[in-house]
């Protein structure tokens, strides 16, 4: 979301590390945030268009913020999407935000692999593994 940085002298280190990685990661993050936020805003609009009572009813809030009603799984989200539920669209936006750093790590892994940087392939692989584990462990709970 930062404004474009000023044009700079080419970095010596960048020549060694490769220029591509930085630019691609930067673009991925920038557009990822814009796209996910747009989805979230669309989801909010759909929610309120479909539920005019949300503008009057005070008891609806109780229901909406009460424990154990949030979608727990990708299946819940997909079912909600089929019914064009606003909260499901919001959830896709929120999940794609969560997926952004994961995509960044996966992309770095590929770049390290093409550079035959084996130690860093291992390190990125471990981070990716831990991220996957976080989803699986949370589900198993």
């Amino acid at each position: 979301m930062n404004p474009d940085p000023p044009v700079q002298a080419p970095s010596v280190a960048a020549g060694v590390r490769g220029i591509g990685l930085e630019i691609v990661i930067s673009e991925l993050l920038r557009w990822g945030v814009i796209a996910s936020t747009s989805l979230i805003v669309v989801g909010m609009a759909v929610t309120f268009l479909r539920h005019p009572d949300y503008f009057q009813s005070t008891e609806a809030l109780q229901r909406l913020t009460s424990p154990d009603r949030a979608p727990h799984s990708l299946e819940d989200v997909l079912t909600g999407l089929r019914d064009v539920r606003g909260t499901a669209i919001e959830m896709v936006g929120l999940l794609s935000l969560i997926a952004l750093p994961v995509a960044r790590v996966a992309f770095s892994l590929v770049v390290f692999a093409t550079r035959k940087d084996r130690r860093f392939v291992w390190l990125s692989g471990m981070v990716l593994g831990l991220l996957t584990l976080s989803f699986l462990l949370g589900r198993a709970e």
Binding site: L29, L61, T65, V105
Partner: protein
Amino acid sequence: MTPALFSLTVFGFSLFAGTVGSLLGIGGGLLIVPFLTLALGVDIRYAIGASIVSVIATSSGAAAGYVRERLTNIRVAMFLEVATTAGAITGAFTAALVGGKWLFLLFGTIIAYSAVSMLLKMLPRAKPMRGMPPDRLSDVLGLHGSYYDEAEGGEVSYKVTRAPLGFALMYCAGVSSGLLGIGSGALKVPALDLGMRLPIKVSTATSNFMIGVTAAASAGVYFARGDIDPFVAAPVAAGVVMGAFFGSKLLKHIRASVIRVMFVAVLLWISWQMFSKGLA
């Protein structure tokens, strides 16, 4: 309160938190969780779930700029992310085990610590000590780097040291992030800057870069557990992203040091409120 008014209030506050957060270089999480729990009475689990997503959003948005400017040391980040993600998973699980009372107390402590470290940042910085201890791990992993410093008008090379210490500290930062749904930049930056001796600008950019991945690890746990309620998290994420964008535009026109002092007082007050809630 109707759901519409609730969404609007949450969005409005998140817009404010995102703006102030990006002006002061702190995440929105420190403000979002207290506001949702203390002012709106949202369950702390949902507050943390909403906050962690907004932390990913601000981190990714800011990282896009820093990475392009090549301030971020991607290798150091990747190495330390093994520790922060492991810590985040530990933290997110511990959060389910400890009661809300302890979360409030811990949160109060972290806010107070952040307030004090913000104050210390304003003091003149001590000269970097000479004679850095050599570090084999940093050499083997090729963590040393360089960046283009505008003030110096040229490329500045730096060496990284004490990688194992940094790794241990990052695990702790990850735990605090997973436990409380915050970015824990206040713990990460000193670990990079004072611990591993990265230049301060590189430390800030690299910390920010790691915060996204750390938060994604805890967000995975929170989502699978059903603690990310879109009704709460959506207005928070949208507000914080837009606020952070405003903040980055404003940053050129105002002096952050003026609001920083005021803000330290606000943080200390919030910290006290969280403590009282925890002790009640």
